[in-house]
């Protein structure tokens, strides 16, 4: 398995490069909180609900609702009713969301590789 060893300097530089890449791109949506929500949905084991996400991220429920609204408009996630308990909804992944995170991963990986050349 690839070991992940970073010096503090490398860490900041990597974060800088990626942040610059996101800012440069048309990433005008998706705030840091919303990105954290999106990543939780895609990386943690389902099912995901509003209250569950609110608890994991230590934010209030309306924050999740609003994040789902905006991310739903971009089709990055999908809301489905929970058949077992109709008070709840289940947040599901979408093809578009997976693609979006794939691009983010590529950005990070590429910036990390760039550092190897420059150092």
């Amino acid at each position: 398995m690839t070991q992940l060893d970073l010096t503090p300097g490398q860490a900041l530089k990597l974060w800088h490069e990626v942040a610059m890449g996101l800012v440069h791109g048309e990433n005008r949506d998706l705030n840091l909180r919303q990105l954290a929500i999106l990543l939780t949905i895609y990386l943690e084991t389902p099912p995901h609900t509003v209250r569950g996400l609110a608890k994991q991220l230590n934010v209030t429920k309306p924050v999740i609702t609003r994040a789902l609204d905006s991310m739903g408009q971009h089709k990055l996630v999908e809301r489905r009713p929970d058949e077992r308990d109709r008070r709840s909804i289940v947040i599901r992944r979408t093809v578009e969301g997976a693609l979006y995170l794939e691009q983010l991963a590529d950005l990070i990986v590429n910036k990390a590789h760039e550092q190897n050349r420059h150092v």
Copy 2:
């Protein structure tokens, strides 16, 4: 020199962990854009001016002015007049800003090391 090799999965997981750390912890209201500005000031070679930062980040000048306002309130950066050209100002680093980024670097490094254990 430490090589920096990341799989896409590792990249997303790392970004997720760090984003969660920032969201969960006391986020200093620093926007992704503002963080990019702060990192540019600390990682790129000085001197830094409003117009220069605006160009590097591909944003308008008021964005820089406002970011300097809020970061200045937190003492993360400092404005100084440019003696050679009094129309310009020079943005300088502060002890508090360096400390803040040091903590950010630690967060990233720690999350990266945690991944080695879990994988």
